[in-house]
Symmetry: C2
Subunit: 218 residues, 2 copies
Amino acid sequence: MTTIGTPPGPNIGVRDTYRHGDLSRALVEAGVELARAGGPTAVALRAATRRAGVSPNAAYRHFADRGALLEAVCSAGQARVAEAIEAEQALIPDATDPVTAARLRFRAVGTGYLHFALAEPGLFQTAFTASPDLESATSGSRAGAVGRGPFELLTDALDRLVAVGVLPGGRRPGAEFLAWSAVHGLAMLLINGPLRALEAGQAEVLIRRVVDMVEQGL
Amino acid sequence: MTTIGTPPGPNIGVRDTYRHGDLSRALVEAGVELARAGGPTAVALRAATRRAGVSPNAAYRHFADRGALLEAVCSAGQARVAEAIEAEQALIPDATDPVTAARLRFRAVGTGYLHFALAEPGLFQTAFTASPDLESATSGSRAGAVGRGPFELLTDALDRLVAVGVLPGGRRPGAEFLAWSAVHGLAMLLINGPLRALEAGQAEVLIRRVVDMVEQGL
DNA sequence: AGACAATGTGTACGACGTCTACATTAGTGC
DNA sequence: GCACTAATGTAGACGTCGTACACATTGTCT
């Protein structure tokens, strides 16, 4: 006797067949919801399988352990960050002259990153804490619509700054890490650090100033 | 019948009396060790009480819940960060002229912070993730030898930069958050972010460059 | 049709946080 | 000196989690 599809609670992946069909994806989606609500620690195997309407151990057919699911959720989160950055970049008018376009494009990486962090703190935190190495950070699964991850969008913007002549080529190597550090640090301080209780307006001022500092200090 | 002092495992706080004497401190110390070994999530009530040679529920006489213990461990961690910064500042020769002394003192805040992060990643992470608000970040319990926390050491160094004439007074307000963001972000990227696998030498180069960026971009 | 691999279920174990009830002890007022 | 009370520690239980093992069901390939 197998009870299928009607355990209590809001079943997202209700089914009437023994097989689920797309459990892998369903688990990641459930994990993303859990991360949105409660950050990395809330991404639990059992909770995800519950949402998918499946027994806890079913997860092990698709993920080696909880860490593997967390990694998949992390990749999904990074993809959404990339989308947020691209959305911010899309606001730049096409008619902008190349130099200021490059500058605005670069700034949009930082502001998009930070706005996403403020809008989706749990998912953001999940996306960048306990994330895999840098190597895998440039892989396809963390990409946005254009197929690039947040890190690649940053390096692209920096390369364009050099091409346009705003950033001297000598300062280019390693610049991605400087920029990333400043923006990522503010995100952390704003989300679960000591700046947590800051009001939205003041946060916006800080965001602008940090991006200013990066642009000037690179 | 009460078994006292001889549960299995490495008992740190072995005792022969029913009362422990200083359980509160013993639990925080155990928590610090757990944090050093495994980061914030490793700070468990049961593990801490085990190390103190005490039953799990004894912790509830001193901490409201696990979060309260974590907070105490976090404060202890911040105190150690402050000590690391002070140690780095103490390396500045007394005979240095006031202007460069102020500059070096400021840079020492960043480098001390980052060196501690690299030396004690678990404790560092515990100290600054899920930490209480900024208000309490300036309280006494997170202080180092001089009685100031990491944040106060930073603001002190910035004030001195202004006093000496290196930093224009108009740029002073909010500068602590800019500097903190950059340094904290690099720490996070180096510890559990995508820069985790970086070798020590390259990390040191990045540290220098980030502090350069802050000094120039402020 | 029958074998095999893929996928999902059931049961079980230890660790965790935390609740409730109980035991032991240190001070305090007499 | 002694009983009372508050502080402190213990015992047991419950629900959660991750995960290991054995078993059930199904799609697929020959």
